[in-house]
Symmetry: C2
């Protein structure tokens, strides 16, 4: 653009493709995201800092969100936290049904490709909820527990779902009660869980070394949405005899591949 004949410096080329976003709405949603991301109430000042928008605009946007119940103030204070509307909306929807609809194909694919039972789970509160499963065609196979709640700290799915939490979050989640031991391998300390989580983040998958049930090994990977948040987990389970650790690398790659595909599907179910 050598000449630059434009009087006012126009934003960008803004080609015909790509409908432009509505600025105020977009900003409002960013505020929601930011508040949700932080686990402590957020002050107006820090919102302006993070978003780089003027104080007054942030105030008015946040105020609008508050009026509709998407944000709220804690009993005493001006800081913002998520309001009940967010929860209301999410409750109306049966996410597990939506997820299993989207992921069903992939789950079958995974189970079929390695011929072991595959599971799909989400986190519900302090439990892993097993949304769906697809069995293997072995005489001996891990039976699926669709609809079951299992502990988070001693299953591969549970650990995958927790992968992004830091020590503080883990401690607040599990409280002061010691983690219940189900087998001799069960991880019972939060400290160890912290290490496990950081390992998941670098390696991308996690195994369950007979931590939930003797004789059963599992391998799972987190499913992340476009924004990178963990929203579910997918993995496989098999008797130890048929699932020695030297298969981990291969299975891990497979599981992670499927996890990524599902994440992409969830992110943008168009074009």
């Amino acid at each position: 653009m050598p000449n630059a004949p434009l009087a006012t410096t126009r934003r960008v080329k803004r080609t015909l493709l790509e409908t432009p976003s509505i600025q105020s709405l977009d900003r409002g949603l960013m505020i929601l995201d930011t508040v949700a991301k932080s686990r402590v109430p957020v002050s107006l000042a820090s919102l302006t800092a993070v978003l780089g928008i003027d104080r007054s605009s942030v105030f008015r946007l946040a105020n609008t969100l508050k009026r509709r119940g998407f944000l709220a103030n804690p009993s005493s204070g001006k800081e913002y936290l998520l309001g009940t509307s967010v929860w209301r909306l999410s409750q109306k929807y049966d996410w597990s049904r939506m997820l299993s609809a989207v992921a069903q194909e992939h789950l079958k694919l995974l189970a079929g490709s390695i011929n072991e039972t595959a599971h799909l789970a989400i986190r519900e509160g302090s439990k892993a909820f097993f949304v769906d499963h697809c069995g293997a065609r072995h005489v001996i196979a891990i039976s699926g527990q669709s609809g079951e709640f299992l502990p988070l700290h001693c299953t591969s799915h549970g650990k995958a779902l927790l992968a992004d939490l830091d020590e503080k979050e883990l401690r607040s989640l599990f409280g002061d009660t010691p983690l219940p031991r189900l087998t001799k391998n069960t991880i019972v300390s939060v400290a160890e869980l912290v290490r496990e989580c950081s390992r998941i983040r670098t390696r991308g998958y996690v195994t369950d070394e007979e931590e939930y049930m003797d004789g059963v090994r599992c391998l799972a990977a987190p499913i992340r949405d476009q924004a990178g948040y963990i929203i579910a987990s997918i993995g496989v389970s098999a008797p130890v005899a048929r699932f020695p650790p030297d298969l981990d690398k291969e299975y891990g790659a497979r599981v992670m591949g499927i996890a990524q595909q599902i994440g992409e599907l969830l992110g943008s179910p168009l074009p």
Copy 2:
């Protein structure tokens, strides 16, 4: 302002009180609400009809919401349904903790006023999750199960949480499997549950006539947010000997009063 020199007819008086809302954001949130309210995918046309906004504006707003993952299109079709972001946000937050923080006082008040155990519950998937409880000072009292998942169809809390569902929704929730019978009084047919729900809506509270456990009667009422959606339930439990049906009216009124107070607190925790 005796002269009223304004050329363009200004909207309303717009007094100093009440910060005005940002229109586009407000509209976007209305769209979210509308989509969530409907349990079938919503077309652009019906959105414009419901909201009374121009087609193009709705399109661009919805598009913005879609980009941020708050809306999505089903695999094939242009209709809108809720996107994963809504779920993501709600997951980040520990609603049970927030709720119990807000309601703790009231729960204590309720338990104290009638000297029986009071419970606070929310729905998590297809279970009632008991968020908090407050015990009574009796030798024999119903012990509290904070942190427990209980069935929806045979507890007063569960039924209160389901009160607004219609037959279709109830059937899709419970599926084809018959409702498990826990006592001789347990409601085992969806048809009966439908009647029970309509009764709750008119009467405002519901009892559990030893449907979950022999010898225990409960009474619960739904907690509704500002918009009227059921978001939680509160109620009391006692041995039948101490809680005959002629106490229902008094206890019912008490429980409903507290439920309303909590709902108001959640809706607007300011002024």
